[in-house]
């Protein structure tokens, strides 16, 4: 047990030469379809989720592609108004509820949360499988609404249009979202109980990796915000299908009440999308900068603060809906306050890079892209949090650009960062690094080309959700559509080379990046039981070299040999 390399016997052995009698990896533990569809292994369930959300990512992506194609010219030439409404609604509903909300928590969260805290599985493995089926069922219901003829309300389902006037398949789509909501609540309960009860000996709360803290705070939002969405959607179904008036203005109902309830969920939902992304970035940046995270405890407090304050800012979506100026002032103030912990995180990531030995591997490229895009998205959020500017740019492409910088620029970049970072652990294979770097750079470039022009078009007054627009906005829309084509290519590339790597990639060693987390202290891919023996935690996370000392030696990041599967 002298040096780090020899302490881990499993990294040395070639299984074909030494019969170590190690258990099979979770991937080899059962080959039948049933062994996947009836599994209670958190790692397999993570793969099941990944398949479903990848499918929905491309469904939503196709809708976005058609929207961008239509917007290439100021006239309506590809689709009519009704179809256009259905396309952007499909894009929003699918991307928000069936990709972004489940994306990082259900795939990487499911896979890594038990591994990172040294547990065998989540606290309630059967519930975990049930929540995948709920997610799938919800997705299929919504897909059925699309196939039946689509839904044209936008992703927000605003009443009274959704309850009284829309002639599209609102009920079916809303039921789909409702069912997927139960899935996220179940996941939230599961994650919270796991973190409370199944941490390995020595894994104290302030030794948890920040990704685990991010999952924990996200789960709190899952559990406390999603039920409000469930009620809101139930009310829409009750009013539309059973004629129970709740929001109907003709009978004294209040449509603004719907907006309050909807945004009480849907604003925290933004933090559901971005907190997991922050967790991933903390892991990736520390590893490739070979540095301890700067200000660990403040990173934790910032996550908790964002989760809590995020519950009290929903009114900033409704400045123009009609609310008392005092309420608007308070919501505006609170929206500025929630930017403080977000800024703390950005500064701490930057400070982590300071004097680090930075490597530009593909996960790090995505992570650095995240830093820039999240900052732009966050700062434009402050514009929108100020009432006068918000009134000016409400319902324009400025808003569209802002939330895409957060939800796509930040969250999707982080998703890809995490996907590449943990891909060797999940699949046991290395992906082609050159392709991955190229895709990361292309994605950053394509993203900015798509969405930065939308800030300008929006500021100049181009409204969202219209497919016919004044010709003076065409230049910005052409830029944006060209960027979307680049972005589409960049998203298709990982689908290609990651799939290729599963079959033809070289075997991954147990810890290809020399990372410090507990998830790297087992084989790639891990066995069903996750660890050999019982892990015990002796130190703080991010055990990279401290600020005052140089690294002991330049460790090779990709050891040439050593996999056990």
């Amino acid at each position: 047990m002298s040096s780090g390399a020899t302490a881990d016997a499993t990294t040395l052995a070639n299984p074909r030469e030494l019969p170590l009698e190690l258990p099979a990896s979770y991937l080899a533990d059962g080959r039948t379809l049933l062994s996947w569809l009836a599994t209670t292994d958190h790692k397999r369930i993570a793969i099941l989720y990944a398949v479903v959300i990848t499918f929905f990512f491309f469904v939503g992506g196709i809708a976005a592609t058609l929207v961008r194609l239509e917007l290439f010219t100021p006239q309506a030439d590809l689709v009519g108004s009704d179809t256009y409404n259905k396309l952007f609604s499909l894009h929003g509903i699918v991307m928000v509820w069936f990709f972004l909300i489940p994306s990082i928590p259900t795939t990487m969260g499911n896979f890594l949360l038990p591994l990172m805290i040294g547990a065998r599985d989540l606290a309630f493995p059967k519930l975990n499988l049930v929540s995948w089926y709920l997610n799938l069922g919800g997705g299929l219901l919504t897909l059925a609404a699309v196939l039946a003829g689509g839904i044209d309300t936008g992703w927000t389902f605003y009443v009274p249009y959704s309850t009284t006037f829309s002639n599209s398949f609102v009920t079916l789509a809303v039921l789909g979202v409702l069912v997927s909501g139960f899935s996220t609540i179940a996941t939230g309960v599961n994650f919270i109980a796991t973190v409370h009860y199944l941490r390995a000996p020595g894994m104290t709360w302030f030794r948890l990796p920040l990704f685990v803290w991010a999952m924990y705070t996200t789960s709190l939002i899952f559990v406390l915000a999603t039920p409000v969405l469930a009620v809101t959607l139930t009310l829409v179904v009750a009013e539309r299908s059973f004629g129970l008036p709740i929001f109907d203005p003709a009978r004294g109902g209040d449509p603004i009440l719907f907006q309050h309830l909807f945004w009480f969920y849907s604003h925290p939902a933004v933090y559901i999308m971005v907190l997991p992304a922050m967790g991933v970035i903390s892991e990736v940046i520390t590893c490739y900068a070979r540095r301890r995270i700067f200000g660990y405890s403040f990173m934790v407090y910032a996550l908790v603060a964002i989760a809590m304050i995020g519950f009290f800012t929903w009114g900033h979506h409704m400045f123009t809906s009609g609310m008392s100026p005092y309420a608007a002032l308070v919501f505006s103030f609170l929206s500025f306050i929630v930017a403080v912990p977000s800024a703390i995180k950005v500064f701490n990531w930057t400070a982590t890079l300071y004097r680090g030995q930075i490597g530009f591997e593909s996960p790090m490229l995505y992570a650095l892209g995240f830093l820039g895009l999240f900052t732009v998205g966050g700062l434009t959020g402050l514009f929108l949090a100020s009432v006068p500017i918000d009134v000016h740019v409400q319902d324009t492409y400025f808003v569209v650009a802002h939330f895409h910088y957060i939800m796509v620029g930040a969250s999707v970049s982080a998703y890809f960062a995490g996907l590449h970072f943990w891909w060797p652990k999940i699949t046991g294979r290395m992906y082609p690094e050159a392709w991955a770097r190229f895709a990361a750079i292309l994605m950053f470039f394509g993203f900015n080309l798509t969405f930065f022009p939308q800030f300008i078009a929006g500021y100049l007054g181009m409204p969202r959700r219209y497919h016919v627009y004044p010709p003076e906005f065409q230049v910005w829309n052409v830029l944006s559509s060209a960027g979307a084509a680049v972005l589409a290519a960049a998203y298709l590339m990982p689908l290609g080379y990651l799939t290729w790597s599963v079959f033809f990639g070289s075997r991954a060693p147990n810890d290809p990046w020399n990372a410090s987390g507990l998830e790297w202290r087992t084989t790639s891919p891990p066995p069903r039981q996750n660890f050999f023996g019982n892990p015990e935690v002796l130190a703080q996370p991010y055990n990279y070299h401290p600020e005052s000392t140089p690294p002991i030696k330049d460790q090779p990041r990709v050891p040439s040999q050593g996999s056990l599967t």
Binding site: P125, Y197, L224, V231, P245, G252, L257
Partner: protein, 221 residues
């Protein structure tokens, strides 16, 4: 394997703990889980009561008039039934922790489920009367004030959602009875008893808030 050993599930069986310790940890983990879920449910019904408060403030007179149309006899009877079921549920929950009280546990569980069913029967009778009195929102609604329809929109929605919750509760308690009858050792100290009955208690508490909101609002003062 001992009786306790059979009840330990993955991943609690692989923590390297003794059987009794693993069982206790699994139990407290499971109970913790249901409390987190109940917190989630509180937000669910919290939103429903927020809705009620907002609508009642806007339309105080119409709400009072509409609330006088509900049947207070059925409502009060149901409150009594559900509170009694809360008593039997608590007794069952405590009795299940002791080896010698298996019969008492089973009887109390049966009484709990029966009282739950009785609640649904009374609710059904009340629904029939409401429909006959044209208290379903729509063109043939009994009251002239339009916002009174909001009250009954809320009435049908909230009692319906509550009845769904109660039916799930009856199913859970019925499952406990079935498992307990087949396997003599299954009930003792099993976290599932406490979990199902905590959920039952939560559904009870929701009704304690619904009762004054629906039946007493129009009749007070």
């Amino acid at each position: 394997m001992s009786a306790v050993g059979k009840l330990i599930r993955e991943p609690w069986d692989e923590l390297g703990l003794s059987e009794s310790k693993a069982f206790a940890l699994q139990r407290s983990g499971a109970t913790f889980g249901i409390w987190v879920f109940i917190a989630s449910e509180v937000l669910f019904f919290g939103a429903i009561f927020l809705l009620y408060a907002a609508m009642r403030i806007e339309h105080a007179d119409a709400f009072a008039a509409a609330a006088r149309e509900t049947n207070i006899v059925y409502g009060t009877l149901n409150t009594a039934i559900l509170l009694t079921s809360g008593l039997t549920a608590s007794v069952a929950s405590r009795a299940a922790e002791h080896d010698g009280l298996r019969r008492l546990t089973l009887w109390c569980l049966a009484a709990t489920a029966a009282l739950g069913l009785a609640f649904l029967v009374v609710k059904g009778l009340e629904y029939r009367e409401d429909i006959e009195k044209h208290l379903v929102p729509g063109p043939r609604f009994a009251l002239a004030q339009a916002p009174a329809q909001l009250f009954f929109g809320f009435y049908w929605l909230s009692t319906g959602v509550h009845a769904i919750h109660l039916s799930i509760g009856i199913g859970l308690v019925g499952r406990l009875i079935g498992k307990g009858l087949r396997d003599h050792e299954w009930l003792v100290g099993n976290a599932q008893v406490e979990i199902a009955l905590l959920y039952w208690g939560f559904v009870d508490v929701v009704w304690i808030f619904l009762y004054p909101a629906l039946y007493l609002a129009g009749r007070a003062g």
